[in-house]
Amino acid sequence: MNRGDDGATIHTAEHEFPLPERRLFLAHFIIAFFALFLGAVAGLLQGISRTGLIVLPAAIGYYQLLTLHGIMLAYVFTTFTIVGFLLLGTAKTTGGTFTPPERRLAWGGYVLMLAGVALDAVAILTNEATVLYTFYPPMRAMPIFYIGVFLVLFGSWLPGGTIFAAYRRWKKAHPDAPSPLFAYMSVATYILWLIATLGVLFELAFMLIPWSLGWMKTINVGAARTFFWFFGHPVVYFWLLPAYIYWYVNIPRMIKGKIFSNLLPRLTFVLFILYSIPVGLHHQFGDPGIEPIWKFIQATLTFFVVIPTLLTAFAVIAMFEEAGRGQGATRPFEWIKKLPWKDARFLAPVVGMLFFIPGGAGGIINASYQLNQVVHNTLWLPGHFHLTLATTVILTYIAITFWAIPSLTGRTYTPQANRAANLVVVLWSTGMLFMSTAMHVLGVLGEPRRTAYTDYAGADVVESWVFWRALMGSGAVFLFLGIVVYLGVIVYLMMYAPQAERVVEFPIGDVRDKAPPPPPILERWGLWVAIVGALILIAYTWPIVELLTQTKNGAPPLRSW
């Protein structure tokens, strides 16, 4: 046995995890880094080409870049990072290792996902799948594109099995204790993910794949879109919840504090399971074929996410304050000074949290049944999710990898690495302040999203866009620099940083002593799945029945790019 930071017991020699686990986790992060790089290159080119100041060579299509950007970042980068992180933390909190069958299952998922990524890369790079990451029919990509997406998403189910098995193994060994918080939150995240992906997997398996292979002549466009958005909204919570895990569970340890409550984080995650899925219609407010009342009902359910979000804000700030007071802070707000601001692994997620304030407010606007008309399909939308996903979540993932990679390679997160990491935070927040602000303004001024540079034949309104487009493009340059520095730090931590002299710990916080134990009902997953199942049936049955039955004829496929 070894002693980690602050005398914590570490159950391995030299490394926090045995070699098979380290290989498994690293394999996931490495794919995520490649996807991040590809997505960032595409993003840079998009940002500068939309200014109109620089014209891309004719061989590079804007919409092809946009498809690459979306698929690589929204599906590949996120999913591989999340799976790597959840596996790592679940292994650590359920005994330090997985059993060989658990590991094999996770590797099985990895192989499927990787095969899917390869198929999609071929389809996109050959320009046979320029359909964006939402792939709305009846634009038809080559079949391997849809098969690839299916493999990535279905492959991600298997490591969920690993997490469930490890959680059950731990529960069996400790029948009366509340489960470890990290494992609990991973299970909750995966339950949300399994239910959410059902929508898009159904769309792919029974609509898009047979139709792209020519086995079906036409497709019901409105229904396909609805199955997509059944998945397309909760996917954002699948990205967000791992960031919440880092805030709730990992940060307390690094700031010498305690997890504030053993109940609040669990309650938060259960609420996310309930209110993240029966809400997809708020992406289709302006769609025909769906009665307004159903759109309104789903708008209402969407707003319930306010509660777990505000609970999290409270719990995280309370945890910060307690940590500061525990280190001798007494005057009001003196606790702020006790926090490790110079450590990028703290600074990055906290900057991310600050960006979540306008991000969340924008989300409320998007979900607002009427206000949505002003911003729907404008640049406001990517402006919004580049705050939430591409800042709050990404900055937190960045911090996660600054713990995970050294812990997996046994190398030191040096002060030099930390300085470069802080530079990443500065570049990223500056770039996003420029780009996202510009996108929000452009959206309100009416510029559409997902549209190559255009002056609309000299229409008057375009004049008001010119300045903001330049600001958006300059933001993209900062963001790209941020990714370059970030990946530089990662390469350093993987290969060049000095070998650590003792175990590099992956921090997992302890719950504070005064926190009451969580009620066992929160671990009765069957109950929560039944409730969300009922909510889904209520919110979706009638709209889907209508979309499927009122149709006169489906739409034949088209390649319009």
Binding site: Y453, V461, N553
Partner: protein, 159 residues
């Protein structure tokens, strides 16, 4: 469920629920008090026969009342039909729009017009043009290589 919350936590939870309730109240009043709904309809059409299905066999602007019009529009790769129109200031326009090919979107910057156009469905929305001037109609859903060129111009004339 046992919720052993300290005082502040309970207060915060009340604030959260109050916030939620006020949001819901506002969108509810706007929807059912002021009848403000996004574009909507339940009117299916065969997307392979748009050109022969009335009223889309004759797209255009039709007067249906005093300064009130029905605009029958086809959104297709990469244009709106009809493309350029002139209407008097204060005109109330009932949009009826569909697509014979892929998904499009119609939005008019500076207005609340923001309509999804989905093959197989006809979408409807009503808007009153209170300001005179030039309006840009643009496609706001990616529809292919020429998506950025898909537009129309309407002029709203001072009476």
């Amino acid at each position: 469920m046992r919720l052993d919350l300290p005082r502040l936590e309970a207060l915060w939870l009340k604030i959260s629920i109050g916030t939620l309730a006020s949001f819901l109240l506002i969108i509810g009043i706007m929807a059912f008090g002021f009848h403000l709904h996004p574009a909507s309809s339940r009117y299916a059409i065969d997307p392979t026969r748009v050109n022969e299905t009335p009223p889309f066999d004759q797209p255009g602007l039709y007067a249906i009342g005093p300064n009130e019009y029905r605009a029958v529009i086809i959104a297709k790769l990469f244009t709106f039909i009809p493309s350029d129109l002139t209407i008097p200031k204060g005109a109330t326009v009932h949009f009826m729009i569909t697509s014979p090919d892929v998904i499009h979107g119609l939005s008019i910057p500076g207005t609340n017009v923001n309509i999804m156009v989905i093959p197989g469905q006809v979408n409807t929305f009503t808007y009153t043009f209170k300001r005179a001037g030039e309006y840009l109609l643009l496609c706001n859903e990616y529809c292919g290589a020429g998506h950025q060129m898909m537009m129309a111009k309407w002029t709203v004339k001072e009476e």
